[in-house]
Symmetry: C2
């Protein structure tokens, strides 16, 4: 009820003049001039479009109407927006000067003006107008009975031209429905590049009419047809999003080599004649798609002309599916083991004066440049492709950082200085399950940057990377959202927009509104918890999931051993997310209490502690009929135990043995249970 009262208060405030800080806009626009007034929304609300836009604006305006109608239940009379100037008297007037082109450096700016009886969106291109419609949706306010928009003038444009999300559809295949809803969510956050990781050791995901072996042998039947790909490209384009496909070579090639083993670099050990060795030879003569995670040896043979012939044929078939200017060829994590073990390859290196595997890979990659150029595509690759001899036309995708023993964002700077256009993903690896704060504060061009304006201009932007070793259609949305919205803001908004309280407040609304686009991060959590509970009540599980986070930085599946691609991802760790819901609020409560031990501040903290004690009791009860709850009990008990002691200290003012307390705290820091960690650990530590 307290929660309700707070919201009630918010409601009353929103009846009064709304303040800029109360708006839940994301990414935060460049200029906002809020005035005292409102535009009242009614059943007769219509939209009219003028100018010379691309027809995608009609799709956008129609979707806008449906979403606004779905939120408000007003039963708008207008069903569709289908042509220029069909409702000259409409309250919402959109004007676009010209057709927007999907790609980099396009004008995406817009002006949104809301007066008490008229709303105008003016943009150079329809792409800007689409962004304006998203901002307008975010401005919706209500009192107890009706909906309105505040009167406001907004002018807005993005800071970076590349605001991307990569989805790995190779490790776990992600059906069309997953891709579409994520494109919708991207568009709602004004993101404009969808990087589609389509091929990796675990599968080949593109229908190939001229090379059917790829999907027959290396997809488990899970791939996108060419028609589906074209459909996605159109769907993305209608939302202002460029699709950049990736086929990862020469490493990460297990799937490719499952279909074409003769193009692998592996050599058979034919020296020994023992039965054992023969068996081994026979065994390693083939490649197989990988079921585990990790960096594998399978690598294309860079000295076999047939390798290039196949790649050329692949590009000839795949490039026409993607009208954009960029093609990502991967190029990462080639461990070089097969090359090192192959005498012919070593000979080739010597003969061609290639000092090392890195140079050999550059030789390989340079063969692909003209193949792509033939289709008017620029080559993009992960940062490993960057060597002295690499074409300056290539786009360098910076991904390594402190986890790989390099400086954070170091490759991005290096690429820009070396004359390459570059995109940042280091710091945006959302599969690492790190905090949203860490991604949010990761600026492609930090304030202390020493780059020249020309070098800065080479930094195109950034891209959230959603690798799917541990992400299935059931849980992937909860890995991507709402946190990617923070990255979208970093790439769109002014560099000074960094207030963490504001971020958290706005993310709650963003998270809620993502549901209307079909994003399943909230609803599927309940589904997983119901399964774990064995159809019992899920409230205790839900409480626990709000303080637990999946193990971070690939420790959940250390060395890729525990989980295979077909393992169950229906477990507690799959219901949990980074940025567990109660963690920020509990930490805020602890900080306030430690600053001022008022009864009010104390109660907020002790209510959490009491909740966790009751939760643990409930989990024990539930576990009698739910084997999947058993693994959670040790950590739940630890939280309950320390909560009991803390209550004694805080409420009863008792003294507790510090050693005991410390032991209990150590238990709370365990990472041995159920692939999760207790994310309130640091806050609990403060209380000791």
């Amino acid at each position: 009820m307290k929660f309700i009262l707070i919201l009630l208060f918010t409601a009353f405030v929103s009846n009064a003049q709304i303040q800029k800080e109360q708006l839940d806009l994301m990414p935060w626009p460049q200029n906002i001039n809020l005035t005292a007034g409102t535009f009242a929304l009614s059943k007769g609300f219509k939209v009219n479009i003028t100018g010379n836009p691309n027809p995608r604006i009609f799709v956008g305006a129609t979707n806008f109407l449906r979403r606004l109608d779905g939120r408000t239940g007003l039963f708008f009379e207008q069903g569709f927006s289908t042509k220029i100037n069909e409702n000259p008297e409409a309250e919402l007037q959109i004007n676009c000067v010209r057709n927007g082109k999907i790609g980099l450096y396009e004008d995406e700016s817009y002006q949104l003006s809301i007066e008490s009886n008229k709303i105008k969106i003016n943009a150079t291109t329809d792409l800007g107008a689409l962004h304006g419609l998203e901002t307008l949706l975010q401005l919706l306010q209500n009192n107890s009975k009706s909906y309105n928009f505040p009167t406001v003038e907004i002018t807005d444009l993005p800071r970076f031209t590349w605001r991307g999300l990569m989805i790995d559809a190779a490790r776990h295949f992600q059906p069309i429905a997953v891709i579409k809803r994520n494109l919708d969510a991207m568009a709602s956050m004004k993101m404009n590049v969808f990087h589609w990781h389509l091929v990796d050791d675990q599968g080949w995901r593109i229908e190939m009419k001229n090379h059917p072996k790829f999907t027959q042998m290396a997809s488990d039947g899970e791939f996108y047809t060419q028609e589906e790909i074209k459909n996605i490209v159109k769907y993305a384009g209608d939302r202002g999003i460029l699709v950049v496909p990736e086929i990862d070579v020469p490493g990460h090639a297990s799937a490719i080599l499952t279909a074409y083993p003769e193009l692998g670099s592996k050599v058979l050990d034919l020296k020994s004649n023992s039965v054992e060795s023969k068996k081994q030879s026979a065994a390693i003569a083939n490649y197989a798609i990988e079921r585990r995670s990790g960096i594998f040896d399978a690598t294309l043979d860079p000295i076999n002309p047939k390798t290039y012939q196949l790649l050329s044929e692949i590009f000839d078939e795949v490039c026409p599916l993607f009208p954009g200017d960029y093609f990502h060829i991967g190029g990462d994590e080639n461990n070089g083991k097969e090359w090192d073990a192959n005498p012919k390859i070593q000979e080739f290196k010597k003969k061609n004066k290639l000092a090392n595997n890195h140079d050999l890979q550059t030789y390989f990659t340079m063969q692909l440049v003209p193949m792509l150029k033939k289709h008017n595509k620029k080559l993009m690759g992960w940062e490993e492709i960057m060597t002295e001899n690499m074409s300056k036309d290539a786009i360098i995708h910076a991904w390594r950082g402190t986890n790989e023993g390099l400086s954070a964002g170091g490759s991005l700077i290096k690429a820009a200085k070396n004359g390459y256009k570059t995109v940042l993903s280091n710091g945006y690896y959302i599969d690492l399950m790190l905090s949203v704060e860490s991604h949010y504060l990761n600026d492609p061009i930090p304030k202390n940057s020493i780059l020249t304006p020309e070098e800065k201009a080479r930094i195109l932007g950034g891209e959230a990377a959603m690798w799917s070793e541990l992400a299935t259609p059931l849980n992937i949305d909860s890995r991507i959202w709402p946190r990617t919205a923070a990255i979208a803001e970093r790439l769109w908004s002014n560099e000074n927009v960094t207030d963490m309280n504001s971020l958290h407040k706005r993310l709650k609304t963003v998270s809620f509104r993502l549901e209307e686009l079909g994003i399943t991060h909230v609803r599927n959590k309940e589904v997983i918890l119901r399964n774990i509970s064995n159809n019992q009540q899920t409230s205790a599980l839900n409480d626990f999931s709000n303080v637990c986070e999946p193990l971070k930085i690939y420790t959940r599946n250390s060395h890729g051993i525990k989980y295979r691609m077909y393992s169950p991802f229906t477990l507690f760790a799959d219901a949990c997310t980074a940025d567990a819901l109660d963690v920020f609020d509990f930490d805020t409560a602890v900080n306030k209490y430690l600053e001022n031990k008022s009864l009010e501040n104390q109660t907020v903290v002790t209510n959490y502690l009491k909740k966790w004690i009751a939760m643990n009791a409930d989990l024990i009860t539930l576990s009698a009929n739910a084997p999947l709850i058993q693994p959670l009990l040790p950590l739940s008990k630890s939280l309950s135990d320390i909560s009991e002691q803390l209550l004694l200290v805080i409420e009863k003012k008792q003294t507790v043995n510090p050693a005991t307390m410390n032991d209990l705290l150590v238990q709370c820091n365990s990472k041995k249970n159920a692939d999760v960690e207790l994310a309130v650990y640091n806050s609990l530590k403060k209380l000791l």
Copy 2:
């Protein structure tokens, strides 16, 4: 907590010898011989397949493994089932004598034998084996720490050969993902016919390469590509399901005639020369796809040879997409208005001695028979196609009943007696929002049936009909499930399986398990309620939704006026379902209390009443920041008011003025608010 204790009790019981009545099997098998013992499920569990099955069994076995692994979190070692006899030592042995053929009259029987260390599924065809796997999944039991199957011998086969579900993808388009998850759910309930209603007044949903105008002009861009259709047919076939397409003619033709207005029966009124009349003439010279619900006039011209040419071309393109033996041509609800108003058509009737429009329609339909025969398809149509001259090869789809002024199931009997094969949908219209009991007790061959064995044999089975005037991808699953499981049981199980308490108990588990197949009936309810609540707490809304049901028998959208196809279906009525969750339990509690006014029985009833009083208070509070809650308050207040009075009577033993009580009860019977009715009304009435 009480709930938890009940479940705890269930858990203990399941540790002891389980009783047949405790099994949550659905549809209930023909023979079950349960013995005292269990098969313990472990990580090493594998499946092996022998015999000569269709390869669909490998898809089925792989999906079986994934679902079982997802439920239990055991991390099975076996990832895929891919070939015959690949794991001879496997604990689960499946043997199929021969390849099953998708269609009617195929052998779908299976034998399932579970011993303490071995499970065998023996079936004539893979279709039977797939059913056996579903039964096995339903047999899963657990104690607090592990999973097992009870030892049992089951022999099973269906009572009827046609166990269908129709989904209307014309009124509201239902994307591929919706169709796929419903096919999965159908298979889990051993249903074997998916009737796909693809064309109606509101849209044409099939890509036509030779007639692109259909989707260009009459689909709003929402249609299935031919590749998608083939993909669905394959997907259904892998689950033992026949797909029967429907193109509804000659009525329901607004979409067809939007593309080909020249083939309509409408005549222009050219007599008058007034400006007004000219405008009208110009206006009616065209057809447009309908945005509302209802029976419309648009009807194909039965005397224009080009009509038949177009239909023939349509069948030539559409039939090859569907390998099954049946094609549904609709034929229902031709209101004859355009035919009556067309002098040439009237002349044609006279000349050809066609007494009425019904005979003219038979003339029309008979032209289609050879067009379909050319593609080895039998014609199926709604019961209106049945006239004296109709081919006996046609299958009659019986749908009309008491709502249409006919006797329930009357047309089915008539068709069987007239020598037609026939399928029952009257009584299975799940869009009417009637109780699951009414569908469950609707037997295609009631016990008092006076049909001869030959006539009975013509009754192929039945089909649940999901019309989508009020069903969108967001809410459609909650209209279909879990209730269609009861219809599936009626069509599969022995006619004597009719216990209502057992049905309700088992439906709870079925409903839970449908979630693992992606069915969204539970998860999307929360999504709708969150939107209504404006991101506040949803528990009060949820409580209210558990006693409210959408208005029944098309009264929600009386005369098709309130809702258009693009109206918001994000309202409270869309979160509510038939068979509201608390209704059966509250009625049971009331009955028990009225039988025996013990304190225990009283408390169960009064707890409901108290819950509803608190709920109403919460809804009022929430409504301060949620306009969409306002329309619910009158009915919520009525429930709260009568609950208060009943508490006075029951707990305080006070006397309340009967007239007052009656007034309050009348308020509870209101159907004026929010498109819902209070489904506990009858139980409340009993308490007065």
